[in-house]
Structures are given as C-alpha cells and as structure tokens.
Symmetry: C2
Amino acid sequence: MIDSGIRLPWNRRLKLLIAYDGSSFSGWQRQKHDRTIQGEIEKCLSIMTNEDIFLHGAGRTDGGVHAEGMVAHFDCSSRIPDQNFMRGLNSMLPGAIRILDTNTCDPSFHARFSAIGKKYHYTVFTGKVHPPRIRLYSHHVTAPLNLATINSCLQAVVGTHDFSSFENSGSRDKSLTGGRGAVRTIYSARLLQQDKDCLVFEFIGDGFLKNMVRNLVGTILEAGRGKFDAEQFAAILAAKDRSSGGPTAPPQGLFLKQVFYQDRTLDHCISGKD
Amino acid sequence: MIDSGIRLPWNRRLKLLIAYDGSSFSGWQRQKHDRTIQGEIEKCLSIMTNEDIFLHGAGRTDGGVHAEGMVAHFDCSSRIPDQNFMRGLNSMLPGAIRILDTNTCDPSFHARFSAIGKKYHYTVFTGKVHPPRIRLYSHHVTAPLNLATINSCLQAVVGTHDFSSFENSGSRDKSLTGGRGAVRTIYSARLLQQDKDCLVFEFIGDGFLKNMVRNLVGTILEAGRGKFDAEQFAAILAAKDRSSGGPTAPPQGLFLKQVFYQDRTLDHCISGKD
C-alpha cells in the first residue's frame, strides 16, 4: 500500500464558514417541504460524501435573514481534502449560499456549544425612496428618528439582563440553556452610521434569544420615532414580559456577521479593533 | 365652478426618474408574455390615469441589467399632482422598481431624443468567493487581472470611434441614428476601484450601441487576463467587426447610472466633479 502522507481520521469533523442571502429561503433550519440553508448544504454534502450528513449550525436564522459569518460543523468519514469540500460545495450550491472557508477541526469543536459570542448587524434605510438594490438587505423607515434616544436605548441594552421582553415565545430549547433562562450578556450595542441614509445597529453578545435582535431594533425604533423615551425603554427591558416590548423589525435588515470561539477575537471585536 | 388655483395642461408630459433591480425582469422593453420594467410601470400608470399610457424610455436595458437613473416620459391628461404620481406608482410597483422623482416637463422634452449622454457602471468582483449579497450586482472574475493593460484599453476607447466591433447585431433602429451608424463618442472610460475586491468600470458617452458596454468590458477583461495586449485591443476596435471582439460580459454587473440632458451636468460628470 502506498502511503500518501496524508492522514485523515476516519471520524472527521469539518467546520464551515458560510455566507448566505436568506431572501429566498425559509431560514436556516432543515424543513420537510421548504428550501432552507441547512437543507441545501446537507443535500450537497450527502451527495459529495455518499453519507447521511447532519449539519450543526451555530444558531438558526429566520426566513429572509442573512449571514456573512455563519459557522457550522459536520462529521463524516470522507477523505476529501478541505479545499475540495469548499470548491465542491460552491459548485453545487446556489449562488445565494457560499462556503467561505472549510477546515478539518478538533472533534471537540461544536459550532453551537463552543460558541462564546455572536455579532449581528441590522440595517435601517432612512431615505425617502428605498433603493431596489438594498431593499432585501435593509428595513425602510421614513419617520424621522431621534439618534440621541436610540443611542440611550442601546446603552441600556449593554450588560447582563433577562431579555424576556424581547424573546418570541415557543422557541427556546430550555434543555440547552444551562439554566440561564432568558438571561444574556450584551457586550456592545451601538450604531454604525454607514452613510447619511443608512443606520446600522451592531449587537455583540454571548447569545441571543429567538428574534431578540429584531425585537430590540423594532422597539428601539419606536423610541427613536418618539413613541417613548429611553427611560421607558429601560422599563420595558426590566418588565421581563414580551407583551411590554415593541414590534419585531422585519427580517431583511438582519445579518449574522460573526460567531466567536476565541476570547481574543471577541475582545478585539468588542473594543472595535477587529 | 371653483377655481382650485392649480392649472395643469390637458396634454401633459411627465418625466420619471427610475431605479430598478433588473434581476427578475426580462429587461426594460414591454413584452407580451414577460415581466418588464416598461410593462410594469405602464400598467400602473394606466390604472392611475384610466388612460392608455405609453412610456418612452431613454434607452432599453437587457434582462438582468440594473438602473439607478433611468429616465422616461409619458403623456396624459390626468390632473394628478406630480408628487402623487410618484407616491401612487411606488405604492403599486414591486419594490424592485422605484420612482425616484416625477416632474411635469415641457412637451418638447423627449426622454430618448433629448438625451445628450449616458453614464454606465459595470462592477467586477475579483475576490475568491462571490458574496451572495452582491452576486446579482456584479460579475465574478477569479483570474488575476492586469490593471495597467485594462487602463490602456480604456484609454483607447475614449474619443469618437465606429464601435461595430462591440455592437450586437439585429438591434439598432437605423432610422433613428441620424446617419451616424455605429459611430459614438466616449467622453470618459475609467476604472473606479471601490474596495480591494471590486473593480468598477465607468463609461460616459453620447450614446451606446446594443450590448456595447458589456462587449467592451468582456473584451477588456480578456486583455486584463493576458489573452492580448492594449495594442491588439485597439486593433479590434479598428476592425469594426463584431467577430473580432471578445465575449459579452454578463448582464448583472451593469448599471445605467445617469442620463444627461444638460451640457453642464454632463461636463461636471466627465470632469469627475459630479
């Protein structure tokens, strides 16, 4: 037998870095009848490896939500080199889903349980007419917004809180939350102004509940419109009751930008150095 | 009869400034069975005015080509105020088509015949993986490109030339070209580097033949890849023969950015001040 010099474990775990345009998918999670990101990638992986592949994502995203840095892992016994996995997947997947990187990783790595934080962006377009080119990647708000109020609300979000007021029901897998319930820590919540008609909300936290970013943005936009002030926003947060919160902002403005696995990367990102 | 103070002519001409994402349309021009930009807008205008409306565009764009500054005009006898036309159209049209401005204009204005120039952008993404978010708005080229060669080709394009080598056949309405055949004047042809992985080709000229920008870009990219040099590119231009030109670059990279009707605006744009 010729020794190729390449030693791949038979029980191999691969980590994928994924970008997708969620516009025409029913979200991340595999569904029987609908087209989903997880479903599309699993289908291609199963064809490539001739094995039943189960893809574990770092989290789920809803229909219409996008990602530029989703992470997922899967196990297989294939010897296909990492880069060929990437090329093969990108040649089979629709252009709306792209594999940005593929690496064989330690079998102890878990896309979801090893994650120590996530970064989300939510884009709001405030100009008069919503440009066709960004209509699927931003939420259009025509009412004038008070940025000082928005910034005060964002400051109130930072820290460790019970975010029940911003969690949609029927979603959380309570066996997996390690007993912390709806308590999450937001390391950074700020506004990045990209150009004069685009506001980008950035949230970095240790974890996010179902629809939490969209509920936060929807509620903060109500404050920005003058419906209530930052103090009342803080009271909504303290109420720990979804019915006191504002509306859910639409999915198309939301991007999962990054999943963190290393303290150093997360710290850099929070401090704005990354 | 109450005099409202508003006097609108019964034979009224309106000018529209239009942006569209051409991805899901069969181009600008009305077609019997396919969804087109002209067809969609005419349909809405006819409903609003209860008249048969014929929309005259400044030009046609192919399926998949986008616009951020298409101009069109139509005649009607409706007294609907300009801004209500805009609001009404934007409420009826799909989000992929937006009316940016509406003005009652002089009846001598003609979107096509009054135009003295046009500006097009063509975006090429040169990074390794084509980001899903820009896949419908850029052409992906992975081969290394020689920018010096590309710039030399662009310089050769500037000026008054017979562009037969870059004109697709069966297209030109020869009764309307004023005897100039395939001769067009390009005022400016240059590369705008937006970020490290995006090249934007900008062309400003008095007029463009069918597929001319896409044929120029497709051929210049072949030169950029090293298939031939700028001298050979100039020879292709001089050949006045489409069969000597390179391939047609795909539609999704192309944006009609602006149509010019005033010397001053055109001059500012050519000099880069606008």
